[in-house]
């Protein structure tokens, strides 16, 4: 590349001044929150995210073709093995159906109505934050009903919440982000607390009513008190309980969801107040 030599230094200082003033102005507007600057983000997101989606789709298709080709080797043996597996699974499915009928009957006896997560939409993760904070980009936006603070989950548990939405794309803040906090309750004792992201791979326990009976392996569920995540979804499992630091013990929590391997997520557009999928103790004590 040939070097372009500037004739005078004046344009440099003017350009630097304009660029710095623009960026500082943007930051200042966000700090004061007087003018909504989200349109800049929405505009750029709407322009760049389709390209991210295109590249993601292309790599996915190439990977699919490659896997399909490699899978042809030894496909006959695998087919036979899978046929046996299908037979076994069908038998197991039949047994599970009977268990489900029994479960529904027991639930009815306990006056527990089966609940669900509410209105949801499935989205594909198309990119990860290019600025080192803990966010991902998904291919659903306001057109699909998403808005800031929509909860994002997977069957394994809570993923995070939507922080910015354009028409067709959204940015999701993961629960491990240092700006993120989730209201939780301990599955075993029903004690309420708050876990906070560390910016790393784990969460820290920020507050709990009583930390004396905490132990590694205990599961935290969402409490629903943060008005973002529905109650009863798995949040994480305690990995270590350390010595007391201030008022609380140092408790590290591993998220229930493997946030490094997200591909598809469920976004809750309108959630019911209470899921309580893993709340047998409370169910038994209900009238």
């Amino acid at each position: 590349m040939s070097r372009i030599v500037a004739a005078s230094k004046k344009p440099t200082w003017i350009a630097l001044g304009i660029a710095l003033a623009l960026q500082t102005g943007l930051i200042s507007l966000q700090a004061r929150r007087r003018i909504d600057t989200s349109f800049v983000r929405v505009w750029i997101l709407d322009s760049l995210a389709p390209m991210e989606k295109l590249v993601d789709r292309s790599t996915y298709s190439l990977g699919y073709l490659w896997k399909g080709y490699v899978a042809l080797i030894g496909i006959h043996d695998e087919n036979e093995r899978l046929s046996h597996q299908v037979d076994e699974l069908q038998m197991q499915l039949q047994r599970n159906r009977e268990d489900l009928v029994e479960l529904q009957r027991l639930r009815a006896m306990l006056s527990l109505s089966s609940s669900d997560t509410g209105k949801t939409v499935v989205a594909r993760v198309i990119g990860r934050d290019p600025a080192r904070s803990q966010t991902v980009t998904i291919d659903k936006g306001t057109t699909h009903g998403l808005r800031p603070d929509s909860a994002v989950i997977t069957p394994a548990g809570i993923v995070g919440r939507v922080i910015h939405s354009s028409n067709f794309f959204s940015i999701v803040q993961l629960i491990v982000d240092s700006q993120s906090a989730v209201g939780v309750l301990l599955q075993s004792t029903r004690r309420q607390g708050i876990v906070r992201g560390t910016g790393g791979r784990e969460l820290d326990l920020d507050y709990i009513d009583d930390d004396n009976d905490l132990k590694a392996g205990d599961t935290f569920l969402s409490s629903g008190l943060d008005r973002i995540y529905p109650k009863g979804l798995p949040v994480g499992v305690i990995t270590s309980v350390g010595p007391r630091r201030g008022l609380l013990k140092t408790v590290q929590v591993r998220p229930s969801v493997d946030l490094g391997r997200l591909e598809e997520v469920i976004c809750i557009i309108e959630h019911t107040e209470n899921i309580d999928v893993a709340d047998p103790a409370q169910g038994a004590s209900s009238p």
Binding site: R3, A19, R132, V136, Q179
Partner: protein, 172 residues
């Protein structure tokens, strides 16, 4: 000083190429960070801000390129809009002005510059982020080691890219 006059069509062509390259850098960074966790430690927009600063030696172009790269990087992340923009603007400017003062074609200079620019970028973006919305749960020891790793990765990748650029220039 010498000014190389360029025909109008050529100017538009060059601007178009830079625009495509800038968008590609941000999109590739987003995709690769998603596919490979390790790539989260690389900062392609920073490497390219320095790369263009060193190779163009034109502060105005480097400011525009750094500013655009940073702003797009902010938009695709949850970061404060303008934080990376401001940081990359300054990096682009310093990289371009360094051409006249240092031997930027030396690998040692390039490694040193990329290392320092990455640390500076991490510091500035974090400070600006804290000014707008304080992250009470942030662990700064973790952030520092993250910048250190990122600086090493950026320096290595930058060195490879610069070497490729030198080789390309030598063969064409």
């Amino acid at each position: 000083m010498t000014i190389y006059p360029m025909p109008r069509a050529s100017t538009f062509g060059i601007i178009g190429k830079f625009a495509v390259a800038i968008v590609a850098v941000v999109v590739i960074q987003g995709i690769l960070s998603f596919k490979f966790t390790l790539f989260g430690f690389f900062d392609l927009p920073l490497i390219f801000s320095v790369f263009y600063g060193f190779t163009l030696g034109n502060p105005v172009a480097s400011i525009v390129i750094g500013s655009s790269l940073g702003l797009m990087q902010d938009s695709l992340s949850g970061a404060v809009l303008g934080a990376n923009g401001l940081s990359k603007t300054i990096i682009g400017f310093f990289a371009a002005t360094a051409v006249a003062k240092f031997a930027v074609d030396q690998p040692v200079t390039r490694i040193f510059a990329l290392f320092l620019f990455t640390i500076g970028d991490g510091l500035l973006v974090t400070i600006l982020g804290l000014m707008v919305g304080p992250a009470s749960g942030a662990t700064y020891s973790g952030a520092l080691s993250g910048w250190g790793l990122s600086a090493m990765f950026n320096a290595l990748l930058g060195l490879v890219l610069f070497a490729y650029h030198d080789w390309w220039n030598a063969t064409t």
